[in-house]
Amino acid sequence: MTSDTATRARVLVVDDAATVRLYHSSLLTGAGFEVSEAANGLEAVEAALVTDFDLFVVDVNMPKMNGYACVEALRSENVGSAAPVVMISTEDRPGDADRAYLAGANLYLVKPVNGDRLVRVATMLTAEVAA
């Protein structure tokens, strides 16, 4: 990532666990991303309505609005965000990943995510090459 503020990619970290939020957002902040946080799906959708994020990092199991519903909403006409979504969950039962892809996620990772990997994936998905 370049350190130039104007081109820093904006990431929204969505997780109800404050500890996990802190972990993910500090990793991404350290890697030069501009990070915002939301504590559940509803907050995330509200945030996406006012800010164009370049990437969403979304937990699955959350109160108020879970991760799947959140991603569905992000992809809906009302929000219409085409930014990549990485879902991160403790669940790794068969079918969980597919549920995420059906909702509109672009990658499904299982917690706890290795810090390097999260930064690598975020960097890859926010590179300004994509359509």
Partner: protein, 786 residues
């Protein structure tokens, strides 16, 4: 403690409380899907966060609890009280562990053995399900053991040998960090030593000096020439977090006993400069392409899954992801207009190309420059949107900080009060009435702001009564089981707010009252049925705000207090006279239970009634400036009412002087102030009294009681402060009345801690320390002096 762990501990507290509360509620409303879900989610969130740290037992135990809850949630199991007991026990154990983590930053050594039994118990109801669930290993990946790097030689071999031997006895590993700060790191405000000191669970720290120090004349003290070797039990996640700002200056390896032993036996190390860097790049290459392939795979699934809708934002996001992955693989594609089918074809082609020899990826910095930025990517509104805050935030603040703020408000009040003295001095000493008035105006303004500030700070200190009530569902459940009684606990008015000190101080008296109720007040189910009552007893905890006070009531529909038995007992214990035995009203009789040395239970049970009983409750409530009363209807129940000030932080005191010295007493106690002509004072036996509105009020000469000189002239009017103590009116003969002031009462400390006749001290605006009287003790003192 590192912030991540601190955050985890703070969050854990809330989550565990949620689990406990939910489990208890579930016993009342078994199978409520909302409740089950809530408990499950709290446990789940807790487990997720615990995985970031090296607490394998913690994660394993939580995982077992979570699996059980998941089965309940899915309807495969019905939660019974045995399971609830096991779950509560598991989270109690975890709470104990976390207390240990708070001080030692690691789990207690006994964690593994302590957890084993509980895990088996929790898994038992799951039967066959246990195996696959356990196999999921709680999402904790097996550590990757690295090869010992050459910098391990900086650690002393003897220590390494011992460590290897110790590691061999467990399955754990250690993380070794090699940190070479940039030579100009000081100019970037980095503090390498501070950073390594923050490494949690530190086992060993070595500072490595340069091979040769520069000559004194070339030596630049602003150049960092040191390196550090750090050995820690902390998990990778924590280390990554800690060193997140200097990722290029550190190298972390994870080693087990074997790896260290191989290093000690002289296995050729990886040369840091050459071999490692080559290997690392290669690893990164393959990792990036693995990530890219994962993204492509995900895109493929998203396009081909049954029921997948590939249009609109979904389709655009897939195009975006595919293009990004292709770029990372070094084979850019243009899929901006691709249809879903074309995209699938592209993904299949890329996956085929990516598999064999991954092309070196272009570093991230170059990527953004290499391609012209997308015009579309700069929408309006983006520049002026701050973007940081999302939703409402609750700030958790250390109690001490709030206390400090309160202290400062107190000091501000003192400084503010100083202005009134200054105004007086301006007029009296310097003869300037104008200046005096201007100071008073200034004071009025400052006073208003100080009051608002004080109200705001007090508001921060307010907590709902639910904090005090929170422990009771568990307490009542456990005790009622032990006593074999069926009790329904009802709480009302939990939202009522009171100062945190009041809430804290309320805890013990409430526990005592509830225990008393359970133990003595409430009958067994058989007794209740025989008495024509509902088999299940009802215990109510209710709170309601009443002006500047909060009223908390503990009531039960138990057997009530038998006034005759109480009187007889008090008489037997010598607490009342034979005459009182005859004349005491029912209400007065019930009040006897608050007398020191009274205990109604004939049998001292293991729950309450160990001689210290209701008198202790009354004493602690009165210490808070509150009152406690009991109403009871024999056979129908008892209700104990505590009335407490909403806040203990600020006390209004009436100032008066005795023997030339100023004292204060809480305004709440003052009924009125009167000046009585000397001739109207009279004497009954040895007691001075005064007639007020047809009532005889005893008068105590404070100067005498406090052993101070009396300065009142022989025939002068007598200033008398009438106070009400225990519903009794008493007159206090003083020297002079002064004004009322708001003070922050500080308890008596140090040598004066035992001076019971004072309830505390307060600083006045003119720098004087005001002693505030403890009326009850002073009356006792007066009785002894007389």
């Amino acid at each position: 403690m590192n912030p991540l762990l601190a955050q985890f501990l703070a969050e854990a507290n809330d989550l565990l409380a949620q689990v406990d509360e939910g489990l208890l509620q579930l016993e009342r409303v078994p199978g409520d899907p909302e409740l089950v879900n809530e408990v499950f989610r709290a446990a789940h969130t807790f487990k997720g966060s615990s995985g970031l740290f090296d607490f394998p037992e913690l994660t394993r135990l939580t995982h077992a609890a979570e699996d059980l809850l998941d089965a309940v949630r899915g309807g495969r199991l019905t939660l019974d009280s045995g399971m609830t007991d096991d779950l509560l026990a598991a989270f109690d154990l975890i709470r104990g562990w976390l207390a240990h983590v708070t001080t030692h930053e690691r789990l207690p050594a006994s964690a593994g053995t302590d957890a084993a039994g509980l895990i088996t118990k929790l898994r038992a109801p799951l039967g066959g399900e246990a195996a696959p669930a356990a196999a999921r290993t709680a999402g904790v990946p097996a550590p990757v053991i690295d090869v010992a790097p050459d910098w391990l030689a900086w650690l002393d071999a003897e220590w390494l040998t011992e460590t290897a031997a110790w590691l061999a006895t467990t399955s754990s590993t250690l993380r070794f960090v090699w940190y070479t700060p940039d030579t100009d790191c000081f100019f970037r405000a980095e503090d390498p030593l501070h950073l390594v000191r923050q490494v949690p669970a530190l086992e060993k720290l070595g500072v490595v000096q340069p091979e040769a120090w520069p000559a004194p004349e070339d030596y630049d003290e602003y150049t960092c020439m040191l390196s550090f070797v750090v050995v820690t039990r902390a998990a990778m996640g924590e280390l990554n977090h800690l060193f997140r700002y200097v990722p290029d200056q550190i190298e972390i390896v994870e080693l087990d006993s074997d790896a260290i032993t191989r290093h000690l036996s002289g296995e050729p190390p990886l040369r840091a400069e050459e071999a490692v860097s080559v290997v690392v790049t290669a690893v990164i290459d393959s990792e990036v392409s693995a990530d890219a392939r994962a993204v492509l795979q995900a895109a493929h699934r998203a396009l081909t899954l049954e029921g997948a809708v590939a249009e609109g934002a979904r389709l655009r996001s897939v195009r975006h992801a595919v293009a990004a992955a292709a770029w990372a693989l070094g084979v850019p594609v243009d899929v901006a207009e691709s249809s879903p089918d074309e995209l699938i074809a592209t993904v299949v082609r890329l996956a085929g190309e990516a598999a064999p020899a991954p092309v070196a990826p272009i570093p991230a910095q170059l990527q953004t420059q290499a391609v012209a930025p997308h015009e579309e990517k700069e929408p309006v509104g983006r520049a002026d949107d701050p973007g940081g805050q999302v939703g409402t935030r609750v700030l958790k603040v250390d109690q001490e900080k709030v206390d400090r703020l309160m202290e400062l408000v107190g000091e501000l009040n003192v400084a503010k009060n100083g202005l009134t003295f200054l105004a007086d001095a301006a007029e009296e000493e310097f003869g300037s009435r104008v200046l005096s008035r201007r100071i008073k105006d200034q004071y009025a303004g400052l006073h208003r702001i100080a009051e608002e500030l004080q109200a705001a700070v007090m508001d921060v200190r307010m907590l709902p009564l639910s904090v005090a009530f929170g422990r009771f569902p568990r307490l009542v459940r456990d005790l009622s089981r032990r006593l074999g009684k069926t009790i329904e606990l009802v709480t009302e008015g939990e939202d009522t707010m009171a100062d945190k000190d009041v809430i804290e101080a309320l805890g013990d008296p409430l526990v005592h009252l509830v225990r008393n109720s359970l133990d003595h007040g409430i009958e067994t189910s058989d007794e209740r049925i025989a008495a024509g009552k509902h088999a299940a007893a009802k215990l109510t905890l209710a709170a309601v705000a009443d002006g500047d006070a909060v009223i908390v009531e503990v009531s039960d529909d138990g057997r009530g207090v038998d006034p005759e038995r109480v009187k007889r007992k008090a008489y037997e214990k010598g607490l009342i006279s034979e005459e009182e035995l005859e004349t005491l009203t029912e209400t007065e009789a019930v009040d006897l239970v608050f007398r020191p040395g009274f205990s109604t239970a004939d049998q001292v049970s293991d729950l309450s009634g160990r001689g210290v009983g209701m008198d202790a409750v009354r004493a602690s409530v009165e210490k808070l400036g509150g009152t406690v009363t009991m109403r009871s209807k024999f056979g129908h129940g008892t209700s104990t009412r505590l009335r407490l000030p909403l806040s203990m932080a600020v006390t209004q005191v009436m100032v008066f002087s005795v023997g030339g010295q100023r004292f204060g007493i809480p305004v709440d106690l003052v009924v009125e102030t009167v000046r009585v002509p000397a001739g109207e004072m009279s004497r009954v036996l040895h007691q001075e009294v005064v007639m007020m509105r047809g009532e005889v009020v005893p008068v105590i000469d404070l100067a005498r009681a406090l052993d101070m000189p009396s300065t009142l002239a022989e025939g002068a009017d007598r200033p008398i402060l009438v106070v009400s103590v225990n519903n009794q009116r008493v007159g206090l003969l003083v020297e002079q009345f002064h004004r009322e002031v708001d003070v922050i009462l500080k308890p008596m400390e140090g040598l004066l801690a035992y001076a019971d006749e004072f309830s505390g001290t307060a600083l006045l605006g003119d720098g004087l320390v005001l002693l505030v009287l403890n009326m009850k003790e002073v009356l006792g003192l007066a009785a002894r002096v007389a």
